[in-house]
Amino acid sequence: MSKISRRDLLQYIGAGGVGTGAGYLFAEVIKRPVEFLIPPVVPPEDYSPGIATWYNTVCNQCSAGCGISVRIREGRAKKIEGNPVHPVNQGRLCARGQSGLNALYNPDRIRSPMRRVGERGDGSFEAISWDDALTEIATRLIRLKIDDKADRVQLLSGRVRGHLDELFEQFITLFGSGRYVQYDFTDPVNLRLANRLSFGTENLPYYDIANSDFLLSFGADYLGTWLSPVHYSLGYGQLRQGREQRGKCVQIEPRMSLSGANADEWIAAVPGSEGILALGIARLLVADGAYAGSDRAAWRRALEPYSLDRVSAATGVAPERVEQLAAEFGGHEASLAIAGGAAAAGTNAVASLVAVNVLNHLAGNLGQPGGIIFNAAPLFGSGTRQAGSAQMTELAAAMQDGAIEVLLLHDTNPIYALPAASGFADAMAAVPTIVAMSSFMEETTALADLILPTDTYLEAWGDDAPDPGVGLPVASISQPVVARVFDTRSVGDIVLSLGRRIGFELPVAMPWASTEDFIKDAWRKVYGDLDPQADAQGFEEFWLAALEAGVWGRAGATGETGDAPLPSLIPDIDNAQASFVGDTAEFPFVLHPYLSATLFDGRGANLPWLQELPDQMTSVVYGSWVELNPVTADELGIRDGNLIEVESPAGRVRGPALVFPGIAPGVVAMPFGQGHLAYGRYAQDRGVNPIALVAMQSDQQSGELAWAGTRVKLRNTGEQARVVRNDGVSRTLGRQILHPGQGHA
């Protein structure tokens, strides 16, 4: 046995020590991270950890008015699903609806009232108390009222329906100003006007896609963004698979949307010629006897100018294709024509929409199953106060002239949604006091002097009667599903407390202590109309039942079949080709902006789930892109990912090219939604806003912005930009995946 030297022994001890340390650290690393069990100080009523409660309310991510059920655990909203008994969405919900949680718990929400301290627009605000904020506004308003300048107060709101709209109106009228308009970029202003011209009512009718045999859509992306996409998606499912005879869908649009991709035929007619195509089909319906009304001769004369040759030349659709469409449209038992998207956003939009209504009339679709069924007026809140861009320009001019001293903004973002040429931003600079009621610091709110943070729709009381309705009168109560996350208030509460502070006749006429009281009182009237003998106890039961179910409706009642297009309409159907801003030689391409199925008109851009959701057609995530036909791209020497400068007479933006086969040559498409200069960490500094390209041009009849009426030119900057895409290659590359000629089911 050799002796261990002192040196060796120390080395062995050292090794042992290292091993011990390593073992200790290893045991430390494999431990579970420390978690805490934090019980409440005082548990709320009905609080059971681990047990979920579902509350029904109304979605507010777009204007469709879907019913939602929100899963609540430990006082926190965990998941939003569709309310199964709500007739609009029947348990389904779209991605935007699901993302409501991102709005509720958004880290960029405004957390307390704020007062501007720096220059307007430089973004420096100080937090103030609610009391200070409301007193400051009320003092300003009282001053104006005493000086007999009450009409210098303008209320500009986003979409507000139901009884809250009435509350706003009451407030502004009692105060002595008639100035109250709503501005929502997506409101179908043109469709309402066209329906008023055709049918004598602005209520949106029920488009019965579910029972239609032949659905002809002129640019309406009914599966993605048009009016009530969840309901129409259900209808589409029924049309395709829910019955014995499968319906057929034809989509007419220059850029293939989700609905175009799901149609049997996609026809890329010349942008802006949709109305002429509809009238061309209408002429054939009358000519070949499919229409047999007593005024057939008058229709025949009126439609005479829309000869096959002219229609074919204007639309770029082959004459035999037009004839085939007319034969199919007239030949099906229940055919239905709808229009929306860019087809309803040109300079001739209202005329085109009237032409589509004419088509439905001539095919005998009005009031028929599978056609257009007229809704009774919504139970309440039927007044539409939507301003088109022309009215917004007028408002901007009034602001410039000093006619507005206080601008009250609520949940609207005209700075983002209107072209700079509207002059709205400059006009805001001329208004002495701007008060914004909003949950988020978007472009318009960022210019305010005083900011009052509002509840999201998941924290506030309200109600809604869906528009478009579903063929029977229904309404829903919107209730808070969680306690407030931040120091915010509902817009109804703000208006009521302002009324109390202003005084005069306002507190007497608006006696409610809270929005909840107000809504409940309003529903007492709804209930009274339903059952005049009803007593108070009956109402309580009714109220609780309506709250619990999330929807209340009266079965059976339908609207009157509105007047069919009057003969006097016939001279009005003259449908000129849409006019475009930009010289054809200098600006060779038509700009086709489209509503994003995720970010919508840009309001979804601050919700991370929507940012990371791929666009359905191109699979692009985040950012903006410029869609080009492969032929156009080849001619210009542009490849995927080249950074392109798109220039119109109104402005220029840059974005990566995306060569996309589902778009007509000569058309350039860009999605709305990105390019925010404010609106929080997820929205800001990402992509570009195609509104910067849109020239200030309105529909001739409605005054609504013709956002599809601009021509552009393209320049390859030679730089590369990254487009984040989920898909691989759209070609089979000889892999024998698809077998041409065999077709598929």
């Binding site: 060796d8 080395q11 062995y12 001890i13 090794a15 042992g16 020590g17 290292v18 091993g19 011990t20 340390g21 390593a22 073992g23 200790y24 650290l25 290893f26 045991a27 430390e28 431990k31 579970r32 420390v34 978690e35 805490f36 069990l37 934090i38 019980p39 409440p40 100080v41 005082v42 548990p43 059971s48 950890p49 681990g50 047990i51």
Partner: protein
């Protein structure tokens, strides 16, 4: 000569291994050290009985004062979580129990109540998020709390006695012939 021959042919194993002996011993020392290190961590620095913000004693409450488990953990029979009592619940008794009022740990509790702050108890019993565990099922099946949590009534500081791992769960399910007790979807859904 045999003597010489043996000398010539013999191979000394210890001689041959001599150069490797020292690294081998170092290796053994390291390995032994690792085990010792793990043992030290597990014995003296274990997370089975973490220090809590208040030195709450289950022995005093459940044993000495014979308070039933579900008097405080009120959700055990009706929810996935058994629930930890709210500060209000603690104070409900402690404002009335006079002789306990001056104890330092009870003063800590009163401090939380005065500040209206929740108590950040450290979690001792936990299963990963992909396990759908529910107290309700187990309580309704007639299991005693102690089956999984050990003799809590004798503990001054709450200590985890079971590993709370899948084999441990499945062993018990098998032994008791739990219906669908070995089906993946019973716990992972």
């Amino acid at each position: 000569m045999p003597q010489r021959g043996r000398d010539k042919l013999s191979i000394s194993v210890s001689e041959a291994l001599r150069p490797a002996k020292k690294p081998a011993l170092i290796g053994v020392a390291v390995v032994v050290g690792v085990f010792v290190g793990v043992w030290i961590n597990d014995t003296y620095f274990s997370d089975r009985a973490p220090v809590q913000p208040i030195e709450f004693s289950h022995r005093i409450h459940a044993s000495d004062n014979e308070i039933p488990c579900q008097y405080c953990h009120i959700y055990a029979a009706r929810s996935p979580s058994a629930g930890v009592p709210s500060v209000a619940k603690c104070m409900g008794c402690h404002t009335a129990v006079a002789d306990a009022r001056e104890r330092p740990e009870v003063l800590k509790l009163a401090g939380y109540w005065d500040r209206q702050e929740p108590i950040p108890w450290v979690k001792v019993h936990d299963v990963p998020d992909f396990v759908h565990f529910t107290h309700k099922r187990h309580v309704l099946a007639g299991l005693e709390c102690q089956e999984c949590h050990g003799p809590v009534q004798d503990m001054d500081r709450i200590t985890r006695i079971a590993p709370m791992t899948m084999p441990w769960c499945v062993d018990c399910h098998t032994e008791r012939e739990v219906e669908n007790g070995r089906d993946c979807w019973t716990c992972h859904k």
